[in-house]
Symmetry: C2
Subunit: 251 residues, 2 copies
Amino acid sequence: MMFSSPAGTQSALSMRLSHYLPLTAAEADALEEMQGERRRLIAGEVLVEAGGPIDALFVVQQGWFHSSTRPVIGGRQILRFHYPGDLIGTSSIAWSRASASLTAVSDGIVTEVPKAKLGRLLAEHGRLAGLLYAVAAAENVALSDRLTSIGRMNAIQRLATLLLDILARLRVTAGGVVDSFDLPLTQTDLGDALGLTKVHVNRTMREMEMRGMISRSGRRIRVLDEAGLVAFTGFVDRHAEIATDWLPACA
Amino acid sequence: MMFSSPAGTQSALSMRLSHYLPLTAAEADALEEMQGERRRLIAGEVLVEAGGPIDALFVVQQGWFHSSTRPVIGGRQILRFHYPGDLIGTSSIAWSRASASLTAVSDGIVTEVPKAKLGRLLAEHGRLAGLLYAVAAAENVALSDRLTSIGRMNAIQRLATLLLDILARLRVTAGGVVDSFDLPLTQTDLGDALGLTKVHVNRTMREMEMRGMISRSGRRIRVLDEAGLVAFTGFVDRHAEIATDWLPACA
DNA sequence: CGTCCATTTGACCAAGCTCAACCGCCGTGG
DNA sequence: CCACGGCGGTTGAGCTTGGTCAAATGGACG
């Protein structure tokens, strides 16, 4: 059996999953078949509005996205950043209204996955069900890490943790050793992700620069002393891989 | 269609899942078969240590548990509370080391679920795979809510949100209308869950009492103005139910 | 060239933390 | 049966981190 779609249009989801576990042709086909049209978004565009009705998920094909909520008091909390290959909007699985907004951070492309099609995929492809369950579990841990960061760390550690996390995630797709990247986020975004104000994010970045932890030029951030930052924050890279040994063999 | 196991020994997991969706006998059987011996824990006992090796999950049968991490700086972050019917230790699915500690808050009972058995269950019971995936998605949203609470709310709102959440969760199993409960948590625990110190938790509780939001006697907490607190915090009850309409029909 | 938005900086403020002491309850051992 | 010790809760005084408000700078783009 062969992939039904040419390599150029293969979805980022199957690429990501096959990074964890070689997929059979049938599995890859099913993943492709599940996804609808590509939809293009420009930076800042809102894909899903929190509280609004929703009956589909999305796969990020290109670009960065984030999910966020708006607490009653005002302000915003950014919950997670999403990268190519991520399955997003999963709250629509459990409810018919979105629990968070999905916004494009940079220009991006997504494909839509109707809930029912995901249900069928999970039912018909046992190994994929396990793999997707593992990915959901990993997402849980990512949120837990963020929670620990915001709940118990000071501003510098929070920012350092986030930068290390972005770095780790970029390495998954970049392959080689990366120690710098273009950050498509404003300082307001960073603050909303870290539970800080943009003013304090600014001061914190400058202090990190002052202390020789990072250097900046424009949007580009370079992490100068990664080992030091890891020790300083207790950062654990969760992106490198996930266990698949417990999955049953191919059906 | 009948359940194969007598009600007395039926696991809390199948009871919880069948609350969302009536299970077939085969599904209920598979859930029971997956679980090992019951294990009894006393309040404060640690079931799983963060960082330690782990190759199984657990189902809470009785009592409250929590998962927590220890940031480098010291202190502790309680990530979630777990109640009967919850599948816990799910980080073991994605990695072979625990990302958080699991501790019994009150005396409790758990059953063990080997990873491989969960893998088989997901592969062989498509509808359960979908349902468990939905539960994992719901857990994600619960963590997101907590993140928003800690990231963007003040002490009173954080505490109020937690109390409302406990109330909502207790109602799932209690059935009737509950407006008070015995809190098995110390103020230190509350602080670790909310990203506050125990001292400030104390002051915050007393202020809530002063303002007529709650009343306390010993461990018992009564929520006096639930509607007011809901409006004040923007609390959304995620426990009431989850959508199952998208699941395929019985195999 | 002007407008908009992100960044930067300063002065001041306050929510929550730290440190420290004290109280009250309960279980335990003499 | 009572003294002791420990833990959880309560309270006070002073401090720190990060927030608020406000204004200036600077780059990108029409």
